[in-house]
């Protein structure tokens, strides 16, 4: 247990093994990456990859003439395509990043899988529903890797919470309250009409991915959704039951003006204490002193404590860089990433069940 005591340097090594592996292996050079979808997430992943390994992004595909024409005049080091098949044929990328709108993930991921591309990264949610995910799994060959962009799993605060939970610092879990909130949708939009699903799929999927990682969710007790600015769910609330009997209350909204950027929060009440964790912080309060809390009953750590001179690239939140490092390391080591498409099945199944159970209010 010594290595896990509250020595920050040791703690970070435990929480973020990607850092040591990155230094040890010097991964990624020689890989040819293509990005499909050059919106904000495509730009972000391409940017992080190029900052980690200059010039690794070789091609971009986007169906928009405006974007591909404009970007090709500015970005000289990348080949731009509007046709995915043409890019796959001509560039033969080792890695394809799919960062298009959710509704197109399924047909787009299927193409490089069928083409034989070995490594594919798809932004969250991987598909619109569980059935599409199962279909992709049936197309995927055993030597192909598909990683899903559930980047909260790469945030050190959540990894720390999982470590404390698994070590029993707060005892037996009794109740969980969790939310994901943002102020992204505060005016009417028809953008999500075709998709037919809203905030639970778009943001709530992060929360469910974390909760299914933390706990074994066994049943849904109740679920309700509400529309405010769209024809889909702008607000979603549900009560779940975990193995062992703990109640899990979840809320997801993208229409809360108080939240400038999205925040994911989980409060875990156990028989010996409470863990409160978000992307930005971890706060623990217990009845007993614990070695993992520095032999104290309280612990509060914030982002600046976790990310001291790490990760090696700062573009958006640090978990995005760690996520990309994790993927490149997985490719180098030929192992499945933490958030492989196989590991995402439980989350997507729960999403389907919640939509099915939800009462519209």
């Amino acid at each position: 247990m010594g290595v896990l005591s509250i020595n920050l340097k040791n703690l970070i090594d435990v929480l973020c093994p990607e850092l040591a592996e990155w230094r040890r292996f010097g991964v990624g050079s020689g890989l040819r990456v293509a990005v499909v979808g050059f919106g904000k997430m495509g730009l972000l992943h391409g940017g992080i990859l190029n900052l980690l390994i200059p010039g690794i992004v070789k091609a971009v595909v986007d169906k928009s003439f405006l974007l591909t024409f404009g970007a090709s005049r500015v970005v000289k080091s990348i080949r731009f395509y509007r046709d995915l098949d043409a890019m796959l044929r001509e560039v033969e990328p080792d890695v394809v990043y799919v960062a298009t709108p959710t509704s197109s993930h399924y047909p787009i991921v299927k193409k490089p899988l069928e083409h034989g591309t070995r490594f594919i990264f798809v932004e969250k949610p991987p598909t619109v529903n569980y059935q599409q995910l199962q279909d992709l799994l049936s197309v995927k060959k055993s030597d192909q890797v598909v990683m899903v962009g559930f980047q909260k799993r790469y945030a050190l605060t959540f990894r720390h919470a999982k470590l404390l939970l698994d070590t029993g610092v707060v005892g037996e879990v009794q109740e969980v309250y969790a939310y994901v909130r943002s102020g992204d949708i505060l005016e009417s939009t028809t953008r999500f009409d075709a998709l037919g699903r809203g905030v639970l799929l778009d943001l709530g999927v992060h929360l469910l991915n974390l909760l299914t990682w933390f706990f074994k969710v066994e049943s849904i007790e109740s679920a309700e959704s509400r529309s405010m600015y769209t024809r889909v769910d702008d607000f979603f609330k549900a009560v779940l039951r975990a193995k062992g009997g703990a109640r899990i209350i979840i809320e997801a909204t993208w229409s809360d003006p108080e939240y400038r950027i999205p925040e994911t929060f989980i409060e875990i009440r156990g028989s010996k204490g409470v863990i409160r964790v978000a992307e930005d912080y971890l706060k623990v309060s217990t009845l007993e002193e614990h070695e993992l809390l520095g032999n104290k009953k309280e612990l509060a750590l914030y982002k600046p404590h976790y990310y001291q001179g790490i990760p090696p690239v700062n573009l958006a939140d640090p978990e995005y860089t760690i996520e990309n490092m994790h993927f490149l390391i997985s490719i180098h080591r030929e192992v499945q990433p933490l958030t492989s498409i196989e590991n995402s099945a439980e989350t997507m199944k729960l999403i389907d069940e919640l939509y099915k159970a939800a009462r519209k209010v």
Binding site: G47, L51, L67, R191, D280, V313, L315
Partner: protein, 297 residues
């Protein structure tokens, strides 16, 4: 040598790199415009000399208010403007999609700069559009703030990091030319990847006036590592680039005294330090401590 102590706008617009929870509380504390004015005024009393802010609507409202009610205060400050306010565009993209956002921005550029837009379109000079976009963002601020007090226009970190990542040297040249020649002010870049930025500038032989970058004892937001970022700050400072150190308190995780102890080693390399707060007493105290520690002695 450290020449300026700047007040930063983050707490005014609900930004905290410590925790969003803190940001929401701070925004409530200064929800009244007079509360922000008070913070600025007492920071000035403590020895702050400037205000660094992004082109967020709330800052325009604040500066317009100060221009109307406290014109003397407006004249006393130097200004370092960060452009654009990136999160605003992220939010717009969430509503209309990236292509929808691009079309909206292009329409606005056409409306404001029709002739320049036509020239840019005929010559297929897309880089030039970036200058027009920046001008459009800055326009209301340039009409409000005394021009001689605007010391620098700096590109927001998201833009800087993407310029490095996608090796957009031509775009950077165009923006630098536009800001220096058309706006006649200093040009700078904000970055959280100073090690990578230094390499990019050297490889592309680009000279800039200012770099704004986090510098704190924890190494928070310093890349590719704390040590490499420190080395880059020192070397860039020695080359004559004016370094503006931001996030010196590691978003509130360290005290101003600890920050001062740490920053002393960079006294010869940095030009200014910035700090942010919503509390008037802290606005003054921090300015006093930083001044004592870095401008004197």
């Amino acid at each position: 040598m450290v020449k300026e102590i700047l007040l930063g706008d983050n707490p005014f617009i609900g930004v905290s790199h410590l925790a969003q929870e803190k940001a929401r509380n701070e925004r409530r504390e200064v929800s009244a415009i007079e509360a922000k004015v008070e913070v600025l005024k007492v920071a000035l009393e403590g020895g702050a000399t400037g205000f660094t802010f992004s082109t967020h609507q709330a800052n325009l409202e604040l500066l317009t208010y100060i221009a109307k009610h406290y014109p003397e205060t407006l004249k006393k400050l130097n200004y370092y403007i960060l452009v654009p306010y990136a999160q605003g565009y992220v939010r717009k993209a969430n509503i209309s999609g990236t292509v929808g956002l691009a079309k909206t921005v292009l329409k606005e550029i056409v409306a404001k700069h029709p002739l320049d837009f036509v020239t840019s379109a005929i010559t297929l000079n897309i880089d030039k559009l970036a200058g027009m976009f920046i001008a459009m963002e800055l326009d209301p601020y340039l009409k409000t703030i005394p021009r001689q007090n605007i010391k620098a226009i700096l590109l927001h970190e998201v833009l800087t990091e993407l310029i490095i990542a996608y090796n957009l040297a031509d775009l950077l040249h165009e923006l630098k030319k536009f800001i220096e020649k058309k706006l006649r002010t200093g040009f700078g870049l904000e970055t959280r990847n100073i090690g990578q930025l230094k390499k990019f500038l050297e490889e592309n032989s680009i000279e800039i006036d200012y770099i704004m970058t986090p510098l704190n004892p924890l190494g928070y937001q310093m890349a590719p590592s704390k040590e490499e970022a420190e080395k880059a700050v020192q070397e860039l400072g020695e080359q004559g680039i004016k370094i503006i150190a931001i996030n010196i308190l590691a978003s509130g995780a360290v005290t101003v005294e600890k920050a001062c102890e740490y920053l002393k080693q960079f006294k010869d390399s940095i030009y200014a330090v910035a700090y942010g707060t919503t509390k008037p007493h802290r606005a003054k105290e921090n300015a006093v401590v930083l001044r004592e520690c870095l401008l004197r002695g």
